[in-house]
């Protein structure tokens, strides 16, 4: 018998958990942070560098890759793994979040989403079935179904409509998935929507649970709501979801967010924060963020962070990296990206060890005390 997709090794329904995901392209240890490669590469990074950093899975974006280079070009290139040179697991999102963040350009219909390209204004349509088809062609290890994501605050009746449509679409997605691919090759998650309404979230989570999917995403959070509400929604949802399936909190977040969500039982994360901050010259340290472009660092010959083992910290000073950022040298963006990704990936590894060794609570407390001291 083949290995199960997910195996929970440590922890339970609503505690910090340690687990293991097995995909056709390799093993992923949870909790996991998935760096984002919107258009293929994690920005500025080569696949080799990602592997050296210890990344186990990355996220690619269906909407963006559909527009450029287009599904046919990726198909001709043998799918995403072959085309992009990243041979480890890939999770693709469905475009639902892009339709939310580029709201003006789209229209939700009963059977899918009409949208205009943010590049050239051309008109397109995605049905839930289309989105599965694309991800089958891409060869994603884990795919997301098309969902309806709303900004916060969303009115309760709108949130209910969106949630119900999301579940209706999911049925179509599952059907198409079963026609076009197989669970040995790929996995389809369900996405729990429900905005900031605990009852609605609970209802959605329970309905999805009935579908017995290989994993569940928590969507529609970190979209403008109060953080306390986000924690509440995560708690409500995780209480309802089955213990033995991975939970993926979409688009979250800061290092502190990750650790707090892990405490509530989340297993998977993706976020552009480490790479986007890097390109703005902001780097993470255990003592909080540093805006490296500041003149305070012009003659600072220390590494970004003492005792950090990344390539940037092992070889270059803050002063040099600041200079590079200042004169728009690409190496500057590469070094801050390497450091921030290393920071996230190392943090998640440390969290896994702490969970494994039954000292997550104290690890979390120590990390947050130091990380948030200056914020």
């Amino acid at each position: 018998m083949s290995e199960p997709f997910f195996k929970l090794m440590k922890g339970g329904k609503d505690t910090a958990r340690g687990g293991r995901i097995v995909t056709a392209h390799g093993v992923v240890h949870t909790p996991i942070f998935m760096p984002v490669g919107t258009l293929g590469p994690v920005k500025t990074m080569s696949p080799d560098e990602m592997e050296n950093l210890g990344a186990e899975i990355i996220l690619n974006n269906t909407y963006h890759l559909y527009l450029r280079p287009g599904v046919e070009i990726i198909e001709g290139g043998g799918g995403l793994h072959e085309f992009t040179g990243w041979r480890k697991p890939i999770l693709t999102d469905s475009g639902g979040f892009q339709f939310f963040s580029l709201e003006a350009l789209n229209k939700v219909r009963g059977d899918g989403i009409e949208f205009q390209s943010h590049i050239d204004g051309s008109r397109h349509f995605f049905s839930p079935q289309d989105v599965v088809d694309i991800q089958v062609t891409f060869g994603s290890d884990i795919m997301m179904p098309l969902d309806v994501c709303l900004p916060a605050p969303a009115e309760q009746n709108k949130a209910r409509e969106a949630g119900e449509l999301t579940i209706e679409w999911l049925a179509g997605s599952i059907k198409r998935f079963n026609e076009k691919t197989s669970p040995e090759k790929q996995k389809l998650f369900g996405i729990v929507q429900g905005s900031i309404y605990p009852e609605l979230r609970r209802e959605m989570a329970l309905k999805l649970t009935e579908l017995d999917l290989p994993g569940y995403s928590i969507g529609g959070l970190a979209v403008g709501e109060e953080k306390e509400l986000m924690w509440e929604m995560i708690s409500v949802v995780n209480e309802c979801l089955p213990e033995d399936k991975p939970r993926y909190l979409m688009g979250v977040g800061t290092p502190a967010d990750l650790i707090r969500a892990i405490a509530l039982g989340v297993d998977m994360f993706d976020c552009v924060m480490p790479t986007r901050n890097a390109r703005n010259g902001t780097v993470f340290t255990h003592d909080g963020r540093i805006v490296l472009k500041g003149s305070a660092y012009s003659g600072d010959y220390k590494p970004i962070e003492n005792d950090c083992g990344c390539y940037a910290c092992s070889n270059f000073s803050r002063a040099y990296i600041r200079h590079l950022l200042n004169v728009n040298e690409i190496l500057g963006l590469r070094l801050t990206s390497i450091h921030n990704l290393y920071f996230y990936i190392s943090l998640i590894k440390s969290i896994r060890s702490a969970i494994d060794e039954n000292r997550f609570e104290s690890f979390m407390k120590e990390f947050l005390t130091r990380f948030e001291a200056e914020e």
Copy 2:
């Protein structure tokens, strides 16, 4: 007794030559191509990547580094090697060429050059002595003296004036060099100017030869003159220069230029061409250039060049690299830069082997026939 700075191993005064340069930071085999790191890094590249490509020496730019981050910041960082993380030999130019290419912003005086920063318009002055001082602080292995570079066509009397001032300044540069540093640590070359006038070039070359410098640069070429004139000037100058000193042709050029200049006895080259072309999406192959952004490559799944051993060609298709360039992913610029630098560095290695094995003429013929077939 310590090793000589330059040892000619093969060839003579005006033939393809093989040699060896020994600096405080390592050995350089000639002929050599020196990639350009104007502001520190060779654009898009890390020092590790440069070393993996087999680069033996890079060029940094005095004028640009003087303006940003400034001499004090580099001094505080322990000099260029320590500050930039490139531990192998560094050659720095003097700024003379920048004063030529940013002509409107400068004024040549008897005692140096007044100039305005191209960044913020601030006013500065470089004497020949200042330029030596800066390069001593930088810790360059090979430094250039301040010279007067003219655009082509330059009138003969202007060219003579410029050449004479260059030689006068050189005397001041040598004096300051001997006061501030030593030949064990650094080397100061002389620069042969003289525009497109053979007699003037000859006169300058002979005057410089009398100064018995460790090496000689051929400046003021590839600045707009006919290529035939460039070859003539190189021949005239190399005939006059001592056989046992390295000759450095500044700012040249295409792969075909390199091989033709090597045939005339040139040992050293620098040029932004491989990296600048890369950032425009143009890559070199043995069959000429390819403009990768062209739609012809959108579904071309071959590597940039078959049998190329670089990281880009070993892992990615033209179609993927084109996509990356198309959507402004930095990895695209990195991959074209890696390929082009690999192309130049491999070419120069092949040329060294051909010289060593007494088959340079046939190598050159074969290379040019194929490389220029489509141009």
